[in-house]
């Protein structure tokens, strides 16, 4: 291949905004626009980038990148859109302002300031990923060197696939001293679990109970070893070692619809941290922001027709959660998105990569350089807000209503659920978060299925199948693996179609996506 003359290309350095690790990367431009990604050797990650970082150029150059506002798929000019937005804000009591990811801290503050100036009181987060519950653990700055000092690391989830940038430190730490103990808690055998010294494989949905068991919590009427399938001696051994180990760490990654009760899972992690006196380190794609209400309250108000307009800032809502659409039929939705969607009024917005601002990472606040110009037609959040009212960005934030968790009641619900038999001919679908499947930019999702289940269904390796839940249907290829138990199937929940399969519950006004029963049959 011909060498590219550096005189014809420009590399613009920035921070990867696609997860909380905050790696430095370069975006390469030539005369025709974005050319690719450059790996910055002297950057914070030594040039290493996970698939999300490599996808930066694909996302910037997405074939469906939106350049004009659209309403139900038809182009709308900015003047008309501005008028529609202003009309919506005429009665602020009937408007809800929501936000998900792809926002900087400055964007969030502008939105809150705007709500105050316009009198909007319904403010909520629409980032429904369970990882958002880990935001409270971002207080202390983390460096991968901290792993090197530990003798024991307890991992919840699969960082090798979810946060691969962590893998080098973890693997080198483990190989350096065989006595270093890596404990993994999960319901399926992942790459991280395969590497662990101790893999605490618990039954589907029972991770919260296992963590509470490790924290030596006695929950009346709940037998943790029996429900989780992890022995009493193993729980006691890990629990004791975690408490006694100096500088031990608890690393946490959560996946969409992987666990029945994400809130109880986070409560379990918190109690384990308090019991053992060890730091929790969260790894997420986006830490999320809070509104003054939970989204469940907004849904109630929509149901009672108190809210007529919903304005969402971000990139996921409502497009990636089609199962919620039924509840949103009576509301007029304006949503920002970097790419085209055929429903609702969609406003083209700049990606975080194209902004100047600050994002929250595991190493504290990181600055986005703002050296990359937004794609043609895409606007900044502040520009969109100014269509209605010009406001100054301030230091404003809001706090959501506190939630009290009834531990016993929630634990008992999990126990009851594990005893409920599956419907005939159905399997339980779990979600996973694999960085390689980031937004479906590299590969269409594959469904992991146990070979014994595949045999019962008459499926062969790499068959294409239909997967149907109460809410939707997708077709995808299968991958046979004994890493997962019989009765469950696993899909990376990264596209609207895959996310749209999952059932959800509203508990304490918080939306929680849960493992879902699905039917599977061969295509053709």
């Amino acid at each position: 291949m011909k060498k590219v003359d550096p005189a014809f290309t420009t590399v613009k350095k920035t921070v990867c905004p696609f997860c909380s690790f905050g790696c430095e990367l370069g975006v390469v431009f030539d005369d025709f626009g974005v050319k690719g990604v450059e790996y910055i050797k002297d950057g914070s990650s030594g040039g290493r980038l996970c698939p999300r970082g490599s996808a930066a150029a694909l996302y910037l150059n997405h074939p469906l990148r939106l350049s004009m506002p659209i309403k139900n798929g038809k182009v709308l000019d900015w003047t008309k859109l501005s008028k529609n937005l202003k009309n919506a804000f005429d009665k602020p009591a009937s408007v809800a302002v929501t936000f998900d990811r792809n926002l900087t801290i400055e964007d969030y503050r502008s939105i809150i300031g705007f709500c105050k100036a316009t009198g909007v009181e319904n403010i909520a987060s629409t980032y429904f990923e369970p990882e958002v519950l880990l935001r409270e653990f971002f207080g202390k700055s983390f460096s991968v060197d901290d792993i090197g000092k530990a003798r024991m690391v307890l991992v919840v989830g699969d960082p090798f696939n979810q946060t691969p940038m962590l893998s080098k430190a973890l693997i080198e730490w483990k190989l350096r001293n065989r006595k270093n103990r890596l404990v993994v808690v999960d319901t399926m055998k992942t790459h991280t679990a395969a590497f662990a010294s101790d893999f605490l494989k618990c039954r589907t949905d029972t991770e919260p109970l296992l963590l509470l068991g490790l924290a030596q919590e006695n929950i009346a009427g709940v037998n943790v070893p029996e429900t989780t399938g992890v022995s009493v001696s193993k729980i006691a051994d890990i629990s004791k070692d975690l408490k006694q180990s100096k500088d031990a760490l608890i690393l946490v990654c959560l996946s969409f619809a992987h666990t029945y009760d994400s809130m109880l899972l986070v409560e379990g992690i918190k109690r384990l941290s308090a019991y053992a006196g060890k730091q929790i380190i969260p790894f997420v794609e986006f830490p999320g922001f809070e509104g003054n209400q939970r989204f469940g309250t907004i849904l109630d108000k929509i149901k009672k027709k108190k809210i007529k307009h919903l304005v969402n800032f971000g990139e996921l809502f409502p497009f990636y959660y089609p199962q919620i659409s039924k509840s949103l039929k009576t509301v007029n939705i304006f949503a920002t998105s970097p790419i085209k969607h055929k429903d609702h009024t969609v406003l083209p917005v700049a990606l975080n990569l194209e902004k100047q601002g600050t994002i929250l990472t595991n190493r504290g606040d990181q600055g986005l350089s703002g050296t990359i110009n937004p794609a043609s037609g895409a606007r900044m959040v502040s520009e969109i807000l100014a269509l209605v009212k010009k406001t100054e960005a301030g230091g404003r934030t809001v706090t959501p209503p506190a939630v009290t968790i009834n531990l016993v009641e929630r634990a008992k619900r999990i126990v009851a659920r594990t005893k409920t038999p599956r419907k005939k001919k159905t399997l339980r679908l779990l979600g996973e978060k694999v960085s390689y499947n980031f937004l479906g930019l590299f590969e269409k999702e594959k469904l992991k299925i146990n070979p014994l289940d595949a045999e019962v269904l008459g499926l062969k390796p790499t068959d294409a199948v239909f997967l149907k839940s109460k809410y939707g249907e997708v077709n995808c290829r299968i991958k046979l693996t004994t890493d997962i138990d019989q009765g469950i199937v696993v899909i990376p929940a990264e596209t609207p179609a895959a996310k749209g399969l999952f059932e959800y519950e509203v508990v304490d006004n918080i939306i929680n996506f849960i493992p879902t029963e699905v039917e599977i049959w061969r295509k053709g």
Partner: protein, 156 residues
């Protein structure tokens, strides 16, 4: 000096960062593939730039050539007619058959990039290394798989 990609099996975490880096750079076509051992381990598989490449011998239009100085086996996209002979001839199965642009995909060790292959620099766990023949003297093949402990990862 000829340099080769070396995979340290002990370090690979199976995250497919290498494949993503390759796909992102080459219009969605990955030149590095993965082998899956019974669902236990993932192995990145890249072109080994063989001393006597069978793909070169099989190419009916001489689109594949070997640079004697660097040892890199390259394929000319302008000459390739997409007959897939190289894909069938490769004993390691690292040349991909899907012909999106009517040319077969062939690793060129990112010769457009002075710093070396993208898969190596992107590797999140540091399992892929780009070493000179001097550094990997005993091995002449392009991609060597090394491990201090055979399948250490799988036997805690």
């Amino acid at each position: 000096m000829a340099k080769r990609i070396v995979l340290d099996l002990d370090l690979c975490c199976g995250c497919r960062s290498c494949e993503a880096a390759c796909k992102a750079a080459f219009k969605g076509e990955a030149r590095i593939r993965h082998g899956d051992i019974a669902g236990e381990a993932y192995l990145p598989l890249a072109c080994k730039h063989c001393n006597e490449p069978l793909c070169l011998a099989a190419c009916s239009v001489d689109a594949i050539t070997k640079d004697e100085a660097t040892g890199i086996v390259t394929r000319s996209a302008m000459i390739c007619i997409g007959c897939q002979s190289c894909a069938y001839a490769c004993p390691f199965g690292v040349i991909d058959a899907p012909l999106i642009r009517h040319i077969s995909q062939k690793c060129s060790l990112c010769s457009d990039r002075e710093e070396g292959p993208r898969c190596v620099v992107a590797c999140s766990s540091g399992a892929l290394k780009f070493l000179s023949d001097k550094e990997i003297k005993k091995h002449q093949i392009g991609m060597r798989m090394v491990s201090k402990h055979a399948f250490y990862r799988r036997s805690p």
